[in-house]
Amino acid sequence: MDCRHMEELISAYVDGELAQVDAEEVSRHLSGCARCQASYALTLEISEACRQISQTVTPAPAEFKAALMQRINNETKVKPFKLAPWLLRNWKQAVGGIAAGILLVLGIYSMNVNSIMQVAQNPAPIVQPNQETTTGIQANQNDNPAGPTESAPETNNPSPGEDKIDPAPTDPVQPLNSSGLSSRIMMSKERSIVSALLQIKVNNSADALDKALNMAAQAQAETQNLGQPISQDGVYTALKITVAKSRAAGLLTQLGSLGTVINQEVTKNDITTRYAETLSQYQILFIQRTAATEANQQADLDQSLSLLQKQLENWEQQAEQETILLWIAK
């Protein structure tokens, strides 16, 4: 074996990583080659120097521990809720976006149900908010040759007062009642979701927060402390207040008196059309549900109806209330 090839093996030989046969060959070569012996000796010396270096302990810089503990504290601490400046500027759009997102999820979920796909393929009857129940039923009769449907809800409805839909029907699937449906159509009216942003400046934000909570309690409002969001103008104390529409204006005036009003914006989101459309969808599915004979189809329809009903109920609830976002700045 020549010296050039030997050079390749010396490194592994020093580390004891050569196979027995190769190690013996290197050993033989080294005993008769001064050049390779020198290379071997230098490799050994370097390895030894490295080992010595590794035994040396270099003190960590004086500020090391303090900086480290500061970092650990920062990383383990719960960070305050921070709103991006664009979100502060466009909070209305953001709230609208969230609502649209929920609707989209609901829509996508509903679209996955076969029964809804069938409805979507048929021309849906247009249901006006003030239409009577029978309109929807009659409109669907042409699409549903399975038999008379208008009487089915009543014959299968021993308790007219009950308007809840079981979201996860058990076997056997119970036919749904129509009383909730009827009442919803009768209840159709203009619906809007109102929210207000009130930004005030005070001397003592803790004191102002206490007073705001008292005012909200007197107005029978629900409150949620959102902590201290950070905006481009500094740190605020944020409180979300949900109050009945009839008491909202009075409460808003009271809250404004806590300090200097920096900004007040009221946003009204008219959901009348969306409510009517969803109600229409609910009606059609309800009729399909009464005619459904297969258990899995019934279960699918019940699930879809449950989701739509929840959405309608949420809108009804929101339409009766007003949300106030109170921002208290020092």
Binding site: Q52, I53, S54, T56, P61
Partner: protein
């Protein structure tokens, strides 16, 4: 060591002050180790911080039959290898002088030996030069040499740590040593 074990138990229960005491015990060792791996004091401080932060986050998973120092050591090596992988394309070659840090000149106390004072000085000088030469190597060579000659890992272990073949490890160590000898030649 019993005291360290007690501190570990407390830290595992979320006691931050106990962890702070653990840092005090191990910070010099960990920092030194990171200095060998990175080759410069700034990166060594960053890496050492990462090691402790990582160990703090994972201290509940530490089984006390192992040595805590070795555990920190492994964390350092793994973090360093990950860092090298991330910066693979940026072929940074450290040109730091090995024996200086932000704190000034390093005092290196070499292991006691039976050498004469003159031999000790020569050996110390040689070690200093090896360290400088190491810092001038490309990271892939420096890493394998640190793992082999400083950390004492065998080729199989290095292959496993670096997630590469045994042949690659052999070849890198061999080339790394050749480059090191070349750099030493410039310093001598």
């Amino acid at each position: 060591m019993t005291q360290v074990n007690d501190l570990i138990v407390q830290a595992q229960q979320g006691d931050l002050s106990a962890f702070e005491k653990i840092v005090l015990v191990f910070q010099d060792k960990v920092y030194s180790h990171c200095l060998y791996l990175t080759g410069n004091s700034d990166d060594a401080q960053d890496l050492a911080q990462d090691v402790f932060v990582q160990s703090f986050k994972g201290i509940r998973s530490f089984r006390r039959e192992a040595d805590f120092g070795t555990w920190l050591h492994r964390i350092a090596v793994n973090l360093w290898i990950n860092l090298c992988r991330r910066n693979k394309k940026a072929t940074v070659i450290s040109i730091d002088e090995a024996l200086t840090t932000s704190q000034g000149e390093l005092l290196r106390e070499l292991a006691a030996s039976d050498d004469s004072p003159l031999e000790q000085i020569e050996r110390r000088e040689f070690s200093g030069m090896v360290n400088q030469a190491l810092n001038r190597l490309a990271p892939e060579y420096r890493t394998v040499l640190v793992l082999r000659d400083m950390e004492g890992y065998n080729y199989d272990e290095i292959a496993s740590l670096l997630d590469c073949s045994l042949g690659t490890v052999k070849s890198r160590i061999n080339r790394g040593r050749k480059s090191l000898k070349k750099e030493l030649g410039k310093l001598l």
